[in-house]
Amino acid sequence: MKNIHKFFLFFSAIVFSSLPAFAEQEEIEMADQLRSSGKIYIVVAVLLIILIGLIIFMIQIDRKVSRLEKKNQNNS
């Protein structure tokens, strides 16, 4: 009787330990861990910095042209 009990425990341990493995195969790999550990925010932050930098550059160019246009109007 005791042996059967042990066997049942052993058997169920094998079955249950292999279950997550089956579940993993079904799933499609995504960057879940990256997102759950919060690191995707770093990528978003970096991209936002790049965007802000480029936009500031763009605004400066825009202003420079505006100044030139004003100068041109005054001269003519």
């Binding site: 936002l48 042209v65 041109n72």
Partner: protein, 220 residues
């Protein structure tokens, strides 16, 4: 100088695209995985190019009616900006293809059509630079741009749909549903198109103003 409202809108929409583009849920699809988010960046490059080139075409036709040099300048600078976005679309598509289809380039109707489109527009720029007389240049390039835009539609919208293509949205089954563009992706995708297009128009607008200044300088 106060920034015009549509430039501010461009900034806001692009910031939204980056934040929402990375943090919202996307469909879980085999092969694509997280790279499906490229929809907000790679696909929008082509949408931007098509819209900007349409503006170039409209101003080319406007020139034919009005003979105003200003219309020709807008047509030229929007076409140049459109080509830049087209090149970015081609390169980003190549990277995406490498990691989903396994090759930088495949002999596919959509890809070759996109490359041919760029060649047609390179020819437009070469044509412009090869004609000295400004009125002649404006007239000929306006007529050519009608041809160029029609070829673009044939190359990237019609031909790929007549044959089989690896690229989503082709092979006789066009439409957004084929790349499982669900509603959560739409609320990022459409604003992204507007944002990138407005940025392209901003660049083109500044280029137009510089071009006009240069012309004025030459007159003196």
């Amino acid at each position: 100088m106060k920034l015009q409202w549509w430039k501010i809108l461009a900034i806001l929409l692009l910031a939204y695209t980056i934040v929402a583009g990375f943090l919202t849920d996307v469909p879980r699809l085999a092969i694509l995985h997280e790279s499906i988010r490229n929809l907000y960046f790679h696909v929008t490059m082509w949408f931007t190019m098509i819209i900007v080139m349409l503006i170039s075409l409209i101003y080319g036709i406007k020139y034919l009616g009005s003979q105003k040099a200003e219309h020709d300048i807008v047509a030229e600078e929007t076409a140049k900006t459109g080509v830049v976005f087209g090149i970015l679309g081609l390169i980003t598509g190549s990277v995406w293809a490498k990691f989903t289809w396994g090759a930088w380039w495949v002999n596919d109707a959509k890809l070759n059509g996109a490359a041919a489109t760029l060649l047609v527009y390179f020819a437009y720029l070469f044509l412009r630079s090869s004609i000295e007389d400004s009125e002649k240049r404006a007239r000929i390039s306006a007529v050519y741009s009608i041809f160029a835009y029609s070829m673009m539609i044939v190359f990237i919208m019609i031909l790929p749909r007549l044959t089989d293509s690896l690229h989503p949205g082709n092979g006789g089954n066009p439409g957004f549903n084929t790349y499982d563009l669900d509603n959560t992706m739409r609320i990022v995708f459409y604003p992204a198109i507007i944002g990138w297009t407005l940025l392209a128009l901003w660049i083109a607008e500044v280029r137009v103003r510089i071009h006009k200044l240069r012309l004025k300088q030459d007159e003196k």
